[in-house]
Symmetry: C2
Subunit: 297 residues, 2 copies
């Protein structure tokens, strides 16, 4: 790619953008990870700035689109096969919607399965907490996106004491078992927490209040949740301690700068697809015979 030739002169350069190190390595939750040590304004691994980010998002979006099309072509009609599942968790205003619009939205909608998990319905509450999630696992060849997820059941579920402590404990294990089962079935999970500071959230909520065309995104309940910030951070820390596994690792993406978090999530998706390395399927027909049949019509 011509536009990256300058980066590629540097030894550690990564194709596709101004990445000097892979977010998949830098942002991954490893043993001993401390959420409170993360700088939410940082832009780890990216050598560009806000100005270059728009360009890189577009050019990497084309690369991601190409990989997605290969994944779809190779696997979408099979009974089993690889898929990708992006799980998005975050405090309000952290930018889940922007990721879906600008990162996910840049690839062919025919290859995307998007699921938004809101407060559970009565029917959903009548089942195990993973029931509604299992129904939305992406099929072979697809990229699934969870806007919130089963992690709500150990985040708001814990903070608001919607379940007792013993039940919460059991859920971590149930999640790990579930995700190990998904990984075994070929689902490559990319679990992302978009991490903003409380100050950044206040600024973003104030902006929503200032703009009548953003009022619909504002919910007075957001302020109530905001008051529980330390409790939520503790619940996230417990999630990372208990559920960041080799089969399904967590990535904490600094998100005070939207341009960075979008680029980073895009890159994480691209890495997941590159590991799958989908190839155009070979023709299951004789190309020359088909040409003759076609020309005879």
């Amino acid at each position: 790619m011509a536009e990256n030739s300058d980066d590629q002169a540097g030894g550690a350069a990564v194709s596709g953008a101004r990445w000097t190190q892979e977010p998949a390595g830098l942002l991954r939750v490893e043993e001993g990870f401390r959420l409170d040590a993360v700088d939410t304004r940082a832009t780890p691994g990216y050598a560009g700035d806000k100005k270059t980010a728009g360009h890189d998002l577009a050019s990497c979006g084309r690369e991601l689109g190409d990989l997605q099309e290969r994944l779809y072509a190779a696997h979408h009609e099979a009974d089993s096969g690889p898929s990708v599942l992006l799980v998005l968790q975050a405090m309000d205003t952290a930018g889940k919607g922007g990721i879906i619009r600008h990162v996910v939205g840049a690839v062919d909608p025919q290859g995307i399965e998007l699921a938004a998990f809101k407060a559970p319905t009565e029917e959903e509450l009548a089942h195990d907490f993973l029931w509604r999630v299992r129904r939305q696992v992406p099929g072979p060849g697809m990229i699934g996106v969870f806007d919130r997820s089963h992690y709500e059941d150990v985040l708001i579920g814990k903070v608001r004491e919607l379940a007792d402590a013993e039940e919460i404990e059991q859920r971590y294990q149930a999640i790990n078992d579930f995700e190990a089962e998904l990984a075994e079935a070929g689902v490559r999970m990319v679990k992302v927490m978009l991490h903003i500071s409380p100050d950044e959230q206040r600024d973003r909520l104030l902006k929503r209040l200032d703009r009548p065309d953003k009022h619909w995104k504002y919910n007075p309940g957001d302020v109530d949740e905001r008051r529980l910030w330390p409790d939520y951070m503790a619940a996230y820390q417990a999630v990372f301690d208990r559920t960041s596994t080799d089969a399904a690792p967590w990535f904490v993406v600094p998100a005070d700068r939207k341009w960075y978090s979008r680029l980073a999530v895009q890159r994480l998706l691209q890495t997941a697809l590159e590991v799958i390395d989908p190839q155009w399927p070979a023709a299951d027909f004789d190309v020359e015979v088909e040409k003759q049949r076609l020309l005879a019509t």
Copy 2:
């Protein structure tokens, strides 16, 4: 919009692109419509060419995205309310996929409900032909897209005699009743047939055969369907004669030039949204009170 100021000098100009007349009027199937009189290479109503089309698709995509966001904001959490349903029907290679990727793909995926109807499963065959379609009707505030639809049951269903003539007859009426019910519930339907010539299809199929990265899109069965072209055109004519209603009109979009068909379908969607005219919802909270609550945290 600055880029259209030249067009707007002309009296009949339409905002948003180089449209001199609305596709919603020009392409609509009215009494006496003859499919065989349509020029598949024509570009009715559009004063630009292939070069301007890319620019117009992008700028009108932003307008469409704005309207979609208003629709979503105003209605998506309500129990009832307006939605848009784009129904796409076409012979193979006519460009349904490109419409989904380049027109639908330009708006926020969170506001889109995409449903692809393939050959019915056993479960689907055990029900009335509209059963699987009813389950995919877009909810309030959403734009639904049907990649094929219940019309397959009177197209391939008729051509391949998958149902007897009497049953096909009954289906036209069932479809009209169903669509009148949808319209009553606020679903604004935009039923589109992308219309290509048999020569154009042959060229496109040959191109797929020439490119290994397109082989996966080629199906030898496409040639068998192609041999039945006149039968399909007769079945489409019958569909137009029987099911183009005020509640749910058909539009036949010349599609030999992909750049035209994409612009035209985009414009049809935009017109549907403009008729709904969604407005940003008013705040259901006191903005000043919320600012104070927020600043106190």
